[in-house]
Amino acid sequence: MSLRCTFQTIDKVDSLNKAQEMAWKGYSFVQLLATRTDNGIDMVYTYRNGEDMPSFKIKNIKETDSIASITPVFFNAFVFENEVHDLFGVRIQGICVDFKGRFYDVTVDKSMTVVSPELKKRKDRKAKVAKAKSVSFSKKNNESSIDKNSKVHKEEAR
């Protein structure tokens, strides 16, 4: 036997419908996590039924977006939804037990979205390297086209 893990992307408005569908099919709710990306926040819902463990990703959630809570279907998801709200700033509407931002009452607001100096350094270095590569690539292209032109001029001169 093995575990079948699959990842699918769903729309923001489908989180509750998908939860309902999973509940009807006999799946249990495993977890909800969020990730900070350059385009916003991604959320991943995971369900499990035996060896089948599908995960559903909602991409690029902005600050102004609002996601429907799945606690009417899976009550125990309130722990994860409060966590995602407090640490990532995602607005989730209709949580059965809503702590209104006091579940993880940390000093820094939306602490998991803060870009640390180490991460910023790595990103800046990556961007510099990418820029340098593109400049050297375009330089090489220019040089090779100059070479071609000079060859053509030489042939014409002959």
Binding site: L3, L33, G50, M53, N76, F80, V106, S111, L119
Partner: protein, 362 residues
């Protein structure tokens, strides 16, 4: 006339060993509702992936919790190995499961001592600690450490066990069985224990399924979601693994499930020691993670199913690492159990879900 009041319980309480706060809304001596509050032990460990690369983060993962230390490092390592799509040597799989099952015995003995202490049976509590010392000595002899072992790494394990060490395991576990049987007898047959636990905080199979409970908390309500049944890793080499289930659904059933799981773990370890093959204990894992890679893994920790998610993108640093621990999953069920119980039973109910708040908050 009945008066409603709110009694704060925790995070500091003589019988509560975890930093959990509950606002107990009580009427006379009956709890009507319990509102949980955590956030006393949040360390932001998941954010450390930005500073530690995937090899270094194993040492952070095993420090998420002291009791579930090995399980956390094993789950994290398996998730990263899935990212790289590699399979570790069979001997390493066996060694991981042997240490993991020994970890389960240690965790359950620790829990049993806390439960005995909670219902006032001090000598029984000390007896459990005495037995647990032998397990910790085994850990020290094979890994060099009693609590946080640092033997799991990406690609396998960093320490091997020779034949003499494996035989010592069998010898110690055999010697433990008689004394443990006496302990079990007291836990399960003593009238004072039964008076505090039988018919307390009953949760039916349907409720356990509805609240997606995991671990012994679920198995005590006859809900089988034991990850070991999937046969992943060395668990697939076991002849006949059957999870310990009980239909009692009360605190007594939860004690019974954990007590019997200790015996089951000793049998698993003995079987794996007989079957462990010779060979390498690790493979070299180098390089960066592929673009937009993600992987998830579940393992059966002593408290239940634990979920690990990792994602990376063309670097030796992970973009994200997430752990969903069994206690986080069981908090909903715990709150349900507390509604309608007697005030005197609150600490027993909380203890029977075996909470581990440092895991939950990370």
């Amino acid at each position: 006339m009945a008066k409603t009041s709110v009694i704060p319980f925790g995070p500091q309480h003589p019988v509560l060993l975890e930093p959990l706060h509950l606002d107990l809304i009580v009427k006379d001596e009956k709890v009507i509702e319990a509102v949980p509050q955590i956030n006393f032990n949040h360390r932001g460990l998941e954010k450390l992936v930005e500073q530690k690369d995937y090899n270094q983060f194993v040492y952070v993962a095993e420090r998420i919790c002291g009791i579930c230390s090995f399980g956390n490092s094993m789950g994290y390592s398996e998730a990263v190995e899935q990212l790289f799509k590699i399979e570790i040597p069979i001997r390493a799989q066996f060694l991981r499961v042997i240490w993991h099952e020994l970890s389960r015995i240690s965790s359950h003995l620790l829990w049993m001592s806390f439960v005995a202490n909670a219902f006032g049976f001090e000598s029984l509590s000390m007896y459990c600690w005495r037995l647990r010392e032998r397990i910790l000595t085994l850990f020290e002899n094979t890994t060099g450490s009693r609590v946080i072992f640092s033997v799991c790494k990406i690609g396998g394990v960093s320490k091997n066990m020779d034949k003499s060490q494996l035989q010592e395991f069998k010898h110690v576990l055999n010697g433990l069985k008689d004394e443990y049987a006496q302990l079990c007898k007291t836990f399960l047959n003593d009238k004072s224990v039964q008076s505090r636990t039988v018919d307390v905080a009953y949760l039916s199979y349907e409720e356990a399924k509805k609240y997606c409970l995991v671990g012994p908390f679920a198995r005590a309500s006859y809900l089988n979601n034991d990850v070991r049944c999937l046969g992943l890793g060395a668990y697939g080499k076991l002849d006949n693994f059957k999870p310990v289930l009980d239909s009692g659904g009360d605190c007594y059933a939860r004690i019974k499930v954990r007590a019997l799981e200790v015996l089951q773990s000793t049998e698993i370890i003995e079987e794996l020691i007989e079957k462990i093959p010779e060979g390498d204990i690790s493979i070299n894992v180098k390089g960066s993670i592929k673009a937009d890679a993600q992987a998830s893994v579940i393992i059966e920790q002593p408290r239940g199913e634990a979920f690990y998610y990792v994602a990376g993108n063309r670097s030796k640093f992970l973009d994200r690492m997430h752990v969903r621990t069994p206690t986080a999953q069981n908090i909903g069920g715990m709150v349900t159990c507390l509604a309608g119980c007697d005030l005197a039973d609150v600490n027993m109910i909380i203890l029977t879900i075996d909470p581990c708040i440092s895991c939950t908050e990370r």
